[in-house]
Subunit: 419 residues, 2 copies
Amino acid sequence: MSGIKAKIEEANQKTLDILFKGQPVLVDIRPALDVVPGMTENMVLHSAPPIEWERMCGPHRHGIAGAVVWEGLADTKDDAVTMIERGEIMIEPCHHHDTVGAGAGITSATTPMLVVENKTFGNRAYSCLSEGGGLQLIKWGSYDEKIAENLHWQAKVLRPVLQAAVLSAGGVDIKSIISKAVQMGDECHNRSIAASAIFFREIAPHLLHADANRDTVLSCTESLAVSEHFFLHAIMAAAKAMLDPAKKISYSTVVTAMARNGVEFGIQVGGLDDMWFTAPANDVDGLFFRSEWGPEDAAPDLGDSCITETVGLGGFIQAAAPTVQQYVQGSMQQAIANTNEMREICVGTNQDVQIPAMDFAGAPIGIDIRKVAQTRIAPLIDTAITHKEHGLIGAGQVRAPLECFDKALKAYSSRYAAA
Amino acid sequence: MSGIKAKIEEANQKTLDILFKGQPVLVDIRPALDVVPGMTENMVLHSAPPIEWERMCGPHRHGIAGAVVWEGLADTKDDAVTMIERGEIMIEPCHHHDTVGAGAGITSATTPMLVVENKTFGNRAYSCLSEGGGLQLIKWGSYDEKIAENLHWQAKVLRPVLQAAVLSAGGVDIKSIISKAVQMGDECHNRSIAASAIFFREIAPHLLHADANRDTVLSCTESLAVSEHFFLHAIMAAAKAMLDPAKKISYSTVVTAMARNGVEFGIQVGGLDDMWFTAPANDVDGLFFRSEWGPEDAAPDLGDSCITETVGLGGFIQAAAPTVQQYVQGSMQQAIANTNEMREICVGTNQDVQIPAMDFAGAPIGIDIRKVAQTRIAPLIDTAITHKEHGLIGAGQVRAPLECFDKALKAYSSRYAAA
C-alpha cells in the first residue's frame, strides 16, 4: 500500500509540474474547420460530457439546430432537427476535439476559434470567440437572424483582423494576463473584465497593423473594447492546453477535466485515460437577472467553462473576486472560507495566481479525487445560469456532484489494485 | 457653543453634498496657455504649497529650470536659473491656477493639459498628461534631451489626437471609472492601472476618429496602451474639480486641499478661504526601487497628488488595493485597519467608492480638522518617493503632519469664535 501511495505522490507531483510549467499562448484565430482536429463541414460540437441528442437539454438542442442553419446545411431549425434525427449531422463533445465551449459550447465548421498553444509541451487547445454581451447568444443555445448576423460579422470581419493582430503581436501570453487579472478582481470565470481589459491593451495597437480599412479596424476595436467577457474563452482554452499534457499519467489522481452538459456533470482523471465519470448535474444557486425568472426556468449546470476551476481559478479563488459574491449574497469572509475549503481537496498551490486579499497566498490547484471522496467537499464552481430552453438568465455558483468522484475512485481502485 | 456646532454640522453636510453631487468629466486636452487661468508664456507652475525659489527642493529647482529650457526661454538650465533669480520667470503653485501637478508638478505654457469639468457646478480643474513610464521624467524634476523629445511628442502629436478622441467620445466620465477601478484593485493614487485600462477601452476606438494618419494613430494608441499611471492625472484633476466647489463654505471644518512641495506640507480648509496651513513635510516610508537608494537619497513628501486622499482615495482606501501594501511590507489586515482608522477623521462615507474586500463598505471621505486634532490620527497618504535632486526612486506611504491641522484649527477658532 505504501508502494502505491508513493506512486500516486510521484504521479501527482509530475502533474503539478506539468501544470506549473505550462505556457499557454494565444497564437492564431482560425475557422474551426481549418484547425480543430477531426472537424468536418457537417459537425457541431457541444459542451461535454457526451450525451445523445434525445437526452440533450434545451440550450444544446436549440443551439445545435441553430448552428446547422447558420452553416447553411438546413433552411430552418425544424429542417435541421430532421437532419440531426436522420444522422446527417455529426454531434460530438468539444472536449473530444481539443476544444472547450462555454455554455452550450456550440462550435461548427465556420466558427472562428482562438488557437492556444502550450509552448512547453507543443499541444494546442481551442475555443470559439466570445460573441460579446447580451442574453441571447448561440453560446446560450439561442439562434435568430440577429445572432446569425453577429456570428457572420465575427467570422468574416473580426476573425481576419484579430488574426492579423495576434500574429503581429507574436502571440499573447495568457498566463501572465491571468496573473495580472487576479490582482484586479477577476476570478477568471464569472468575472474576466480585467483580463479582457489587459488583453485589449495588448492587442488594440496591433489591430492597426491588420490589412483592413480604417472603418473595419474601428468596428473591431469598438467590439473588443466593450466585450467584458472576451478573454474568458481564451482563459478556457489556456486551461485546457495546460491540463491536456497532464492526461494519461499512470497513478495520477488529479482531475484533468470537469464539464457539464445541462443533464450530467462529468470528470476525467489523469490516471484514467479519457474516461468520463458522470452524475446528474446540479442546479445553479445564484442571482436571476430579471424578476420574471426563477429556479424553475433554469437548465441544470451547463458548459465546459469549469475547466477554469480544474486549473484552480473561478470558484477556487472566490477570495480574489469579491464582486462575484454579489451573485450569491455572499461575503468576503465566505469567499475566503470557500477558497480555504478548496485547498483541502487540492494537491498544490499555484504561485502564478496570488490572491491579494489573502496576503497573496497562491491559489489551490489540482483536484485530487481521493481528497474529494474522503472529505466529501465538492469542487465549487462559479457559473452562469442558462434558461432550460435557451438564453442566459443569471449567474451564481454550483457544486460538482460527489458521485462523479466516487465513481472515478472506484474505477481507479479497480485499475491500480489489479496492477 | 451648541450654536456653532450646529453651524459646523450644517456646513460639513453641505460640503459632503457638494462632493457627492460632483460629476467630473474629462472634456478636452489643451495646451496650458490656452486654458489654465492666469497662465503666461514665462510662467512655470509647481506642486503646492507656495514656496520661494531659494527654499525649494531639488526636483522643483531642476524641473522648473528644465521647463524654462523646454519652452525655449533659455538655452541651458544654468541660463534658466539666472533668469529665475533675476525674476524673469514667474513661479507659482499649480493649486493657485485651478491645477494639480503630480510629483514636482512642473507645468508650463506648452504643457498639454487634461481639462476636467465638474458638470454639476460648472468649474474646471487641470492636470498635465502623464509622461508614461520611467524613473526620469520632468514630473520628478528630471530634464534631458530624451525627456524633452517625449514632451514635444506629447504636445505636438499626442495632444491633438487625444483631444479629438475625447471630443469624439463626448467627454469621459471620471467618477464612474474611479468606481469601477476600485472594484479592480486600484486605490487610485499609487495604483491606477485598472483606471488607465478602463479609460483606454473607452478612448481607443475614438483615437481612430482623429484627423491623423494611421501611423500617428498607432503611435498614440501604443503610448496609451502601456501607460499604467495615465489616468492618475485625470483622477487628480477630477478630485480638485470636486473639491473646489467645497471651498469658502463658512464654518466648514473639512479639508479642501492637501499638497506637498518637498519641504512643507500644506492644507486648505473649507471655512478658511484659500489660506495654507503648513508644517515641515515628513519623509516617505516605503520601498526603494534600486538597492543603491535609501532614505538619505530621498526628498521629503512631494506633490499635489494627495488631492486623491483629500477626496477619500489612495491611502484612505488601502483595503481596496492589497498590491499597494507590497511597498510597505503591509498586510490585508493592516490595510483594513488603516481604512478604518481614516473613518475616524472623516465626516462621511462615499458609496460611489465601495471597497470589495470590506463587503463593499463605502470609502471614508471629507477630512475634518477637528477630528484630526482630537484623535491625533494623521491622514495616511500613498505616494511616490522622489530623489532629493530629481527622479523617481521608490513608493510607499506617509502621514500628513499634525501641526498643519493644529494651526488650521487655531485659525478656525480665532475666526469663528469672533463671529
